[in-house]
Amino acid sequence: MAQVKTKSQPTARAKSKPKPRPQLPKAPTGIQGLDEITGGGLPRGRPTLVCGGVGCGKTLLAMEFLVRGATEFNEPGVFMAFEESTQDLTQNVASLGFDLKDLVARKKIALDFVYIERGEIEESGEYDLEGLFIRLGAAIDAIGARRVVLDTIESLFAGLPNPLILRAELRRLFRWLKDKGVAAIITGERGDRTLTRQGLEEYVSDCVIVLDHRVSEQTSSRRLRVVKYRGSTHGANEYPFLIDADGISVLPITSLGLEHVASNERISSGVARLDAMLGGKGYFRGSSVLISGTAGTGKSSLAAHFADATCRRGGRALFFSFEESPDQIMRNMRSIGIDLQQWVQQGLLQIHSHRPSSAGLETHLAMKHKLIDAFKPQVVILDPLNSYAIGDNQIEVKAMLIRLVDFLKTKQITGLFTNLAQSGNPLEQTELAISSVIDTWLLLRDIEIGGERNRGLYILKSRGMAHSNQIREFLLTDHGVELRDVYVGPEGVLTGSARLTQEAENEAAMLIRNQEVELRRIELERKRTTLEAQIAMLRAEFAVQEVASSKIIGQEKAEKAQLAQGREEMGISRKADAKPNKRKRESK
């Protein structure tokens, strides 16, 4: 009772980290995903109601709870069947790899088939269900059971008269189970307006799980929902689940929230020119990439490039195709020079092809989860997304894709999706309206000019990176995708032969210009040569003049000196001066 009070305190909505607050004791189910949704398992010491329509997997869920408990958590369990004989049960669950015979022999599980034949029974006076209590008690005590399953106890209403007594007794039974402290699962068939035919949810009100098996557009999908869980937080959504050779697996996708880490790592798109457009480095790791375009614009080829680049780096890629078989994809990609076969052989690439209509959306999602969990790829490719849109299920498809994108992001897997845009629809609008969850959106479109149809690529958006805003012409060559600049003229972008013409014109203009430049260069050279010749001539003239001048200067000097000497000698001879005389005399 004290535990019930925990419900009244405001339960933290955050599913993030388990806080160290007193938690309801729980019995782990061991069922993949269910423990995650229920925050650790089913309540210990309280009955849990599992209800749903025919064939929705109630018995299986209950049985797996017991078997996992017995084998993985060492908690023996009692299975009380009201509908199937123990022999049938053993056979039915053997397909899931549960060896009930062995578990019964090892006293891990006790099976009891309660069979009531209405025709044999006559009522006389008051009765109670003490016999059932005694049977169950004996079985629990015999193996020390911690878990109990009652499948489907509502059968009692068909077998025994006086529903009033039954109701009172069931109420007593559930209380008794609580007193026993066992974790119990009670299954119930879905009623008209109620969860169960007999309104068991009124008695078992601690934990209620509803299973559902829906068929929509001729495909079926199974879902699970925790309707209530007293004293515990739980994922409240409908979760798809699968029943396969490993038992039940539930996919708690949306419970994870938007808490994934964003990587700064970049990975190549496989087309160098596209990487350059995406800030020079390519996509972010763990981002979601959408390539949309009309038919035949090369979406799959871009996707194959990405897969090829991933494998080339040694990474693993998972390719889901909804239109082509693996063989067909490999053949087609070989024609543009991408050899995917080598990666498949090396185990780096897995291609899964199946029609979207082969199963329900949830089943598809669940299958993808299983494959992704098993293969652990770095890159997941879906080609194309909108194959899922059959009829009027767009909302479901969108929900599924958002969950898939979320799942991939939490696993840091880069997702690349293609979307076939219907001609006539605006390209920026995907039919499935999933653009909001896409990080990088590439648009491929046809450009019709001059009687030609050419492909153009541009980046509509790319979160968190500077990216090119230009349109590139997109060519599929025998060595893969090539991106070319387009010419932007007054009439818009030019592609194909218009671009080629423009290129040729440009080339001619360039040639003429080059020739002119050459001409000028030669002229200049000639001028220089002439000028240099003139300079040399002048220099030579100057040199001659220089020599002549210096000769004259020399002569002048010599004459001058001669003249001076002559005059002196004449003076001496004439004794014209006293001084030179005196000097002459002294010297003599």
């Binding site: 006076g125 004996a138 025994l160």
Partner: protein, 108 residues
């Protein structure tokens, strides 16, 4: 269990002196158990004239017997013989219905 029918049972014939093998499952000394035991003893004495074996089983003492005889409700009276097998649940206070259940009287 141990008792053998002395002569072949004749079904449907209410006056046929068939031998009855009856088992009454009860749970301890609950009021319903006590009244059921008293009621069946009285009915047997009055209607079956010693042509019967009655075994009273207390499931509290022998809980493992519940599974074999498919006991769910208590008290349960099982008519093993003569065929067909019948179960009468309740404290057997409605004598008329017990007699119908034992094929001593036809349903009204």
């Amino acid at each position: 269990m141990k008792a053998k029918p002395t002569r072949p049972a004749q079904q449907g014939d209410k006056q046929a002196p068939a031998h009855y093998i009856l088992k009454l499952y009860v749970a301890g000394q609950s009021p319903k158990s006590i009244s059921a035991i008293a009621n069946i003893r009285k009915i047997c004495e009055e209607e079956l004239h010693r042509q019967y074996d009655l075994e009273v089983i207390d499931l509290y003492q022998q809980p493992n017997l519940a599974q074999g005889d498919q006991i769910v409700a208590l008290p349960t009276l099982i008519k093993k013989l003569p065929p067909p097998l019948r179960r009468i649940i309740g404290d057997l206070s409605d004598t008329a219905r017990v007699l119908v259940g034992l094929d001593i009287k036809k349903k009204a």
